[in-house]
């Protein structure tokens, strides 16, 4: 609401109603359902906790998206909502008006509240009422356990106050409600507190797990059983799983098996990301072979793969419908390009994003890949920075992309001829070569964003980007 805009009459009426708790609570019985959200917001803003508890019980929709209203964890509001739920749960017979099935503490469903902010008149208009299905009283089908949804981020140290309060409350009521988490993020190694929290989660609800810290393989093995219970897991992201020099190879194999045996139970996995996961080398088949469904995303980055891994990747049936293939930082120089060629042929009809950045692909390897690459008709993003390709092969590559009419973002390395004998970039030659290559692309098709990049400066890491107008760094040229 701007400073100049007056409050709406509904806001003023709502505030007046809320000045008398008892009157407001009695009014809930007759309140039209479309007025619950704005009144709830008003009560929340002004801290009318007793009315809020009653409104939680009388909430006429199946979901109360409280997290979107709180924006950040708000302990006081959490306690009010949980007290309201307790009042519901302690009633022996389900009241006629009980509709609430989900308390959503995530910062999601902002549209639900946005609809009621500043545009209540629109929301209440007869046109909106006809369109908006949430205004219809949901049918209560059967008595289902209440669900509380939350996104969980586990960090070092004990649980914070919000998590602790929620944990204690849920632990005492596990027979009548489920604590559900769709996205679970690890920012640290799990400790006894975070393991306690994992034990009360309904792991069936988890759809996404991301690990954004460095774990030892033994830590992954400890977490693996939890992953195995996540029967609806769709996305798994592992990052920086490191080995330990002191671990024997037998123990290493045992720990790997503890993880891969849980992959058997990931019935719904569609997106698998592994960044700097050391144990993948030589074990890719163990990780992937038990997955039941075709993958949509396969991202193996900054890892080393063996010949057998590449061979498996080309034969693995569940990569035939990939939309995203990311092999950034997987060094290909010493490998045959044949498995990757076979893989690209398999996914030509579905692949939308291909990232081969910093794979150190050479001329001959790229030439082997070109026929398959030119058939990837759905490709929208192709990242090829950081590979060693000469001008003639770059020309060939760009000519072969003529049929890739959906390409919107193309990132190519500066041709090898852009560098002098010492490996330093020759600015004039770089510009001239890139201009020629850009003209080739524009002759054969439309191009939305086409960028050529030099290798990073060994001193400052700066890269020259042709077609983005970025200038060179000021580091002195190598002697």
């Amino acid at each position: 609401m701007s400073i100049q805009a007056p409050p709406t009459l509904l806001e003023l009426a709502g505030r007046s109603l809320l000045m008398d708790n008892q009157r407001a609570i009695l009014a809930l019985e007759d309140l039209p359902i479309e007025l619950f959200p704005p009144l709830f917001m008003e009560a929340f803003t002004r801290g009318h906790t007793e009315v809020l508890k009653e409104m939680v019980q009388a909430w006429p929709f199946t979901c109360l998206p409280l997290g979107a209203l709180m924006k950040e964890p708000h302990l006081g509001m959490l306690q009010v909502a949980l007290e309201g739920l307790d009042m519901l749960l302690t009633q022996r017979d389900r009241p006629r008006r009980w509709r609430l099935q989900v308390l959503d503490l995530r910062n999601a469903h902002q549209n639900f509240w946005r609809m009621w902010t500043g545009n209540v008149a629109d929301a209440c208009s007869s046109e909106a009422k006809n369109k908006n299905q949430t205004l219809k009283l949901p049918t209560v089908v059967a008595k289902e356990p209440l669900k509380v949804f939350i996104d969980v981020c586990l960090t070092e140290g004990p649980l914070d106050e919000f998590q602790t309060n929620l944990y204690l409350w849920v632990k005492q009521r596990r027979d009548v409600l489920h604590l559900c988490c769709k996205k679970l993020t690890f920012f640290a190694k799990p400790n006894c507190h975070t393991r306690k929290f994992l034990k009360i989660l309904d792991l069936n609800a988890v759809q996404k797990v991301e690990v954004h810290c460095s774990w030892k393989l033994s830590t992954l093995a400890v977490v693996a059983p939890f992953l195995g219970h996540m029967r609806n897991l769709r996305t798994l992201l592992l990052s920086h799983i490191r080995g330990s020099a002191s671990t024997s190879s037998e123990k290493k194999e045992r720990l790997i098996a503890q993880f891969t045996s849980q992959c058997l139970r990931m019935d719904c996995l569609q997106k698998f990301y592994a960044n700097a996961v050391f144990f993948l080398e030589g074990h890719l088949d163990q990780v992937l072979r038990h997955l039941k469904n075709p993958l949509k995303t396969l991202s193996i980055t900054n890892c080393q793969l063996s010949d057998s891994d590449w061979h498996y990747l080309s034969q693995y049936p569940n990569t035939s419908q990939l939309k995203l293939l990311d092999l950034r930082g997987v060094e290909l120089t010493t490998f045959s390009p044949e498995p990757l060629r076979i893989l690209l042929e398999k996914v030509a009809a579905t692949l939308k994003t291909l990232d081969l950045e910093d794979c150190e692909i050479t001329d001959s390897q790229l030439q082997a890949l070109l026929p398959a690459l030119s058939c990837c008709s759905q490709l929208k993003t192709f990242s090829f920075f950081g590979n060693h390709i000469s001008m003639p092969v770059m020309r060939d590559l760009l000519c072969r992309t003529a049929r890739l009419s959906l390409l919107g973002l193309e990132l190519y390395p500066a041709p090898l001829e852009s560098y002098d004998a010492h490996g330093a970039i020759h600015l004039g030659r770089f510009s001239q070569l890139c201009a020629e290559l850009t003209a080739i692309v524009r002759d054969v098709r439309e191009s939305k964003l086409l960028v050529f990049s030099t290798a990073p400066c060994p001193q400052c890491g700066h890269q020259l980007l042709y077609n983005l107008g970025l200038g060179r760094c000021s580091c002195p040229a190598p002697a």
Binding site: P6, G14, S16, A27, D30, P32, C124, S125
Partner: protein, 104 residues
């Protein structure tokens, strides 16, 4: 005899005023422009044959309509330092229901 004010500009599509009549036959004459803040009133007064002039707002009795009348004036004169629009809590529920119907 009580002097009765007359308002010449309540009829026709270009009238400067609109006459609101509650279900219990109380009349309020308000300026047309601020009254259009109510989506329902806007529908009522716009276009030929939508509603007859003086059609009573059937589901609303006098008290909330009186507040509505005051709100139109409040809205026009509103500044950062405006005095508040007094709404007694005992009428608040009735008013909330009325506003829901009036779409404002």
């Amino acid at each position: 005899m009580e002097r009765r004010k007359t308002y010449d500009g309540c009829e026709g599509p270009d009238a400067m005023y609109v006459k609101l009549m509650s279900s219990d036959a109380h009349e309020f004459v308000v300026k047309r422009e601020p009254a259009l803040a109510s989506g329902t009133i806007k529908v009522m007064v716009s276009g030929p044959g939508q509603f007859a002039e003086n059609e009573p707002i059937r589901s609303i009795v006098e008290r909330p309509l009186h507040i509505l009348h005051m709100y139109f004036t409040y809205k026009v004169c509103y500044t950062k330092n405006s005095t508040k629009l007094p709404i007694a809590p005992e009428i608040a529920l009735e008013l909330v229901m009325a506003v829901n119907f009036l779409d404002c």
